[in-house]
Symmetry: C2
Subunit: 195 residues, 2 copies
DNA sequence: GTCTATATATTGATAGAC
DNA sequence: GTCTATCAATATATAGAC
């Protein structure tokens, strides 16, 4: 419900991002109007433009801060043994994806709606995250505890497999998160020939 | 470029579907207008409505025929040994996905733009395809040649992993299709503990 | 079957008052 | 910072001529 007059700048900004993220993820960037976002926030459409120059910048901002948050949240320990590092990555990726399901969804669903320049920016950040897993697989292969035919494809395949949880996971479902982590870690460990 | 007058019913119908599939996949359902589709086909926008009642029916039709084609294309041999069946499934899924990349993309990208009834219809078809893999994993587990903690999650994880190829594959890239099949079969075989 | 023309609604974005 | 009002563009879909 849209208010009439009165300023709440300190909370409107984050609220716009929250509602835009939710609506974009649920209905798609192109299908969501600025008026819909404004209504969900509780302001009139014109007020949004005090926070973002346009709709495209809003999308790019959501994706960029998500990717930066993801990169900041992952803390590897290169001195640990590779299998331990991989297990931590698997569980981290699942937990982070489920905690930020809308943003994850957006990050691989709405790339096509970014301008070319914004796309390159997000793709670069994504590449850095893929490198984090690639380094673990490289260490595992060099230590002889992992065996794979192609490291790059293994990286992409594993991230695709793990990210898939957001497509079926429902709070309060058959399996809790720890159990899901166990199962995917079993799949991942087998995939890299570490049984 | 849009023609002016003259009927080509026998080719306009399929052409509408082809161009709609391509444009929806590239730009997103909501972002593509009926005028864009008409322009790509070479007719005026009004002419599209001789072939589809509305835009929603066009999307649903594309997804439904894709899923039915997928189900019809997969021919399992339940008498073969489970690992052979799984290898065939892995290579089939990759090849089919790459041969129909736009439709595959649509099928998991635009589900949210279907009406609830149309969504249920597509979800049911998707469930049948998942069952095809599930049966193989069940046979493998019972024969003792595959080992997994959770068959349902293994099914979903494997399909997510395999489908991911459409996100990075490019014709003429570093790896040809057979080689990609080899690599993913290696990953899949390991994931089900069949090394 | 396809065209032209149009009804009707909605969009992203801006201007100016408060 | 937010509102109201509005512009200009574009959307889906339909009607009627050919």
């Amino acid at each position: 419900m849209a208010r009439t007059h009165g300023s709440r700048a300190e909370i409107t900004g984050p609220l716009i991002r929250d509602e835009a993220r939710r609506l974009f993820a649920r209905n798609g960037y192109a299908a969501v109007s600025m008026r819909q976002i404004a209504a969900a926030v509780g302001v009139q459409a014109g007020a949004l433009y005090a926070y973002t120059p346009d709709k495209q910048a809003l999308l790019h901002d959501l994706l960029q801060s998500h990717m930066k948050e993801l990169l900041a949240a992952w803390r590897d320990d290169p001195s640990a043994d590779p299998l331990t590092r991989l297990e931590r990555f698997v569980r981290f990726h699942i937990d982070f994806s489920l905690d930020h399901a809308d943003a994850v969804f957006l990050s691989y669903m709405e790339l096509r709606n970014l301008t070319p320049e914004n796309f390159r920016n997000i793709a670069e950040l994504r590449g850095r995250y893929e490198d984090a897993l690639d380094q673990i697989l490289q260490a595992g292969a060099e230590a002889g505890v992992m065996h794979m035919m192609d490291r790059k494809l293994t990286t992409l395949a594993m991230i695709a497999m793990l990210t898939g949880v957001i497509n079926w996971y429902r709070e309060g479902g058959r399996l809790d998160r720890d159990r899901i982590g166990d199962i995917y870690w079993g799949l991942a460990r087998g995939a890299v020939g570490a049984n």
